[in-house]
Subunit: 362 residues, 2 copies
């Protein structure tokens, strides 16, 4: 198999709650709209029928067979026993130069582990992190980490801040991103021990560090990057999704009670559609996994075809813009990365013990 001429995304076709039936049409849709080529990785006999049904005109599509699938509930220890998984083989396509980026809606812990062991990490980054680009009242915000690393040290949070700063400059086109650390009070000294230590490191950096921010600042739009550990970020992300959905349901129920309200609701329909589009996380696609030597986006397990499409399109944009090279260059220019790092010592330890990082499954 040769690499296609257009930017090529390796898509884990077995990932997510719905597998090939949403992944294949979703990815094809993005490929057509964004002039991308695709490699679907997974059980060929499950992928082909969906390809046969679809209109693939003008899209270079390949299929790489992989027999095994990582389940959402698989623990890192179980991962080691699965040798021929779709997620692992998707990363391998990038490693071999047959693809330029990976998209998976599977187990995010598995994506992190496979990404680290197949592509390796950017020099100086101890822990790759998941960055979610969230809609706010104004411009989008980067929340990092949203689930790759649940037990962090302060220097990891510092590294997350440096990576997200480059991402916000490069992808969101923000000249001097306002970076905050997610805490429980604005004043310095508020927060837990981890946050207080990371605060000190960030405040001494060259970043446009605005100090502690609170949960209520996330969606206001006056912050560009919010740094936290993967446990807090994952809870924050999921509680936001849950609340947005609950509020939509409550609103719909309230607004369909009574004839006048129903009529009003009909008239306000266009407004509602714009609103729904704004809070629909599917619009925002996947979360880039930053810190690997390559481009990888992780989608929500519950992704529908639209989310997959958004994520593949975003991966295409990352490839077109050389986003990962920009990340490496940005981090290299910023000499601060090595300030608190333990270099590659920890990496070799981890590799030596074959210890996989503990991560979330979504």
């Amino acid at each position: 198999m040769n690499k296609p001429s257009r930017p090529c995304i390796a898509v884990d076709a077995m990932g997510g709650d719905f597998g090939p039936q949403v992944v294949v049409p979703g990815a094809l849709n993005a490929a057509k709209a964004n002039a991308l080529s695709l490699v679907f990785v997974g059980r060929e006999e499950e992928i082909r029928p969906h390809l046969d049904q679809a209109d693939t005109t003008g899209v270079e599509v390949d299929v790489v067979d992989a027999r095994e699938v990582v389940a959402m509930s698989d623990k890192p220890s179980q991962l080691r026993r699965k040798q021929d998984t779709s997620i692992q083989k998707a990363f391998l396509q990038v490693k071999k130069g047959r693809a330029d980026g990976v998209v998976s809606a599977g187990n995010s812990g598995a994506s992190l582990a496979c990404g680290m062991f197949t592509l390796g990490r950017i020099k100086g980054i101890e822990r790759p992190a998941l960055a979610s680009i969230l809609p706010t009242e104004k411009n989008p915000l980067v929340l990092i980490d949203v689930g790759a690393n649940v037990d962090c040290k302060a220097r990891h949070l510092f590294q997350f801040g440096l990576m997200a700063d480059v991402l916000a400059k490069d992808v969101l086109q923000i000249e001097s991103p306002r970076v905050g650390i997610l805490s429980i009070g604005e004043e310095e000294g508020k927060g837990n021990a981890l946050v207080r230590d990371a605060y000190t490191m960030l405040s001494r950096s060259s970043l446009n560090f605005v100090g502690n921010i609170e949960g209520r600042d996330i969606f206001g739009g006056d912050i560009d990057v919010a740094v936290c550990d993967g446990f807090v970020g994952n809870v924050a992300l999921k509680i936001s999704e849950g609340l947005a959905h609950s509020l939509s349901r409550i609103l719909k129920r309230e607004l369909t009670t009574g004839v006048m309200a129903k009529l009003g609701c009909l008239l306000a329909r266009d407004g509602f559609r714009r609103f729904a589009k704004r809070v629909d996380y599917a619009e925002y696609g996947g979360a880039p996994l930053l810190g690997l030597n390559g481009i990888a986006l992780v989608c929500h397990g519950a992704s529908n075809a639209k989310s997959i499409s958004s994520a593949v399109a975003m991966a295409g944009t990352f490839v077109d813009n050389n986003a990962n090279e920009h990340l490496v260059q940005g981090l290299t220019r910023n000499k601060e990365l090595s300030l608190y790092g333990r270099g590659n010592g920890e990496a070799s330890e981890a590799a030596a013990s074959q210890e996989l990082p503990k991560a979330s499954s979504s």
Copy 2:
């Protein structure tokens, strides 16, 4: 001063962002509606004008002068130098038997510290915790801890679960509360080290423990108690508040674009009002501080008169129902409290070193 015949709430009149001008009318409103008496604590010359302006017919009101105010930004170390604060003296009213409960919209760390040193803790509870009663799509949910303890051990989370279980039974009238631990995946083993250890303790307990829950489960209404450390809980609470407000603003903006939408909006007004009431946290008043030998509710710093009123009313309900005695009895009946506790050893250490707990300011 004698104790009034009706249940009496000591109100920190200086607390919150707006002080006596919202605290006095808010508390009076609740006192009238719920047959309570009040002791306002704070600078008498700042309290009296608001009392003079108000209609106090039928409410027994007293004022206890306190010269100092704890600022939101005050650290525990600064607290020790302030001897005559309104929050400290409010707790003293309960200690002396002149009041039955405390309400403050001030620094929650100060409330926790003053509560612990004035009233003491329930036997076996190492860390009093803030429990927030949140609206969901179905019944209210108890989220504990929302900011009193930012660095917790697993046994503290276990104790939070036992306390919230009693609260949910007693105040929310739920026979067998479904208790979950807030994590980043449903399967056992997901989460950080703290959550995994607390999971084991909770799963061995007599509670109706449903295991890990995720952020998105909070507002669905299928859980009655969600346990987490005070850092995670505070971020979760504030991000929910922030998102609810942002969505309301976005919705309003979307729905007032275009003539048809405007008309629709007018017609749907009643539906909106019901919706707004449902997500308005002011309706739910204060967060009970559980684990003290006495009743105390902490309000949001940004509380308006309505929030104060809800909190004072809730404090009155707690007094009427002997909620704190029920908490003590419930914990005593459940012998598990001593399973992982360090008894009073830690308490005396803390008291001896005059170490104040680190807490949030909201």
